[in-house]
Symmetry: C2
């Protein structure tokens, strides 16, 4: 794509590095900025600076945070003995939105994926091991994706924590609420039968 | 969506104003920035500033340009008597990529769309009328979308320029190269029969 302007080319290059954004979409974004008033460009630009300068990662759970320790870790009402292991911040948002979990979190920062060159050493596993080893934690819940990468990572974390006396669980796999049996894949359906739960009305 | 951080909320608000970007995608962009190194945030931020401070609109054809007058208008090799009327800069890129047009352009900056509150007064029509009225232009090609808005705008521009002795045309509507007749909509097929062209092998 010949853009005829170095400035637009640079902007397209930059936007195209965002996840899921190709050159055409990047160009659309750049033109949107050109067409809109100064104010919007200023807002976007300031937001980007603030993301990099004012946000930190929680020193306890690696959650994104505005302070040294995040609000969840600081909250005395939350169950300090239960840790839910997740891939990233978005999963914390999703679980928090259910309103059904009151423990703490531990953010791995990714999943083991040999294809993408991500090994256990790239994830926040050591701090989890240290946390579990130092006592106080009684339960660890693995809440990772139902993908190959998620299962591999769950298995790895499980192995690493096997030495401690912890109650360990993984979130249930099964058919979704509102989903029809007929259209459920056989692996999921098989697991939902194997891991059937007592009927509670 | 509860984000738990004012900084992330502000960034999501800003990204979600880009065309076609919802809150979930905006959050993905924000997290990408948080995870990546300083360098990328710097690059994106600088690109945005440059888009707003260093880019202008060509004073002759309203094309996006780094100088007062754009490269196309300044090019002495191009046919100064032919003007191709387009919606925006992306259409110029598309036509330039064909390598088949050697005249000048005129960017309207949008299409008439009552639903979006865009009327003729919001488009660069007056400067086109002035340009055609001042002589030197012998042909105007309307290269607008095949949508309702495109056709309406083409008709409006045609009416406004009707008083001048100009050769006026619109780009051909018809079946695309490689397209099958069977799957072509009837309006397009009808037009391609009405506007049939001499067979040239």
């Amino acid at each position: 794509m010949q853009l005829g302007s170095k400035i637009i080319e640079q902007a397209v290059e930059a936007f195209a590095q965002l996840p899921g954004v190709g050159k055409k979409t990047a160009l659309r974004y750049a033109l949107h900025l050109i067409k809109n008033d100064e104010h919007y460009a200023e807002l976007l630009q300031q937001s980007i600076i603030r993301l990099k300068t004012e946000l930190k990662f929680c020193s306890k759970c690696h959650n994104v945070s505005e302070q040294e320790v995040c609000d969840i870790c600081l909250n005395p009402v939350r169950d300090q003995a239960t840790v839910c292991v997740v891939q990233d911040y978005r999963d914390i948002l999703a679980i928090e939105n259910t309103g059904l979990y009151k423990g703490l979190y531990h953010v791995l920062g990714g999943l083991i994926s040999p294809l993408e060159g991500i090994g256990p050493q790239n994830l926040n596993v050591e701090t989890l091991v240290l946390k579990c080893g130092s006592g106080g934690i009684t339960e660890v819940i693995l809440a990772l994706n139902g993908t190959m990468e998620g299962e591999t990572t769950a298995f790895y974390v499980f192995k690493r924590l096997a030495g401690f006396s912890l109650k360990m669980s993984t979130i249930a796999r099964g058919i979704a609420v509102g989903e029809e049996l007929e259209y459920t894949d056989e692996v999921t359906l098989g697991r939902s039968i194997t891991n059937r739960i007592p009927f509670s009305g």
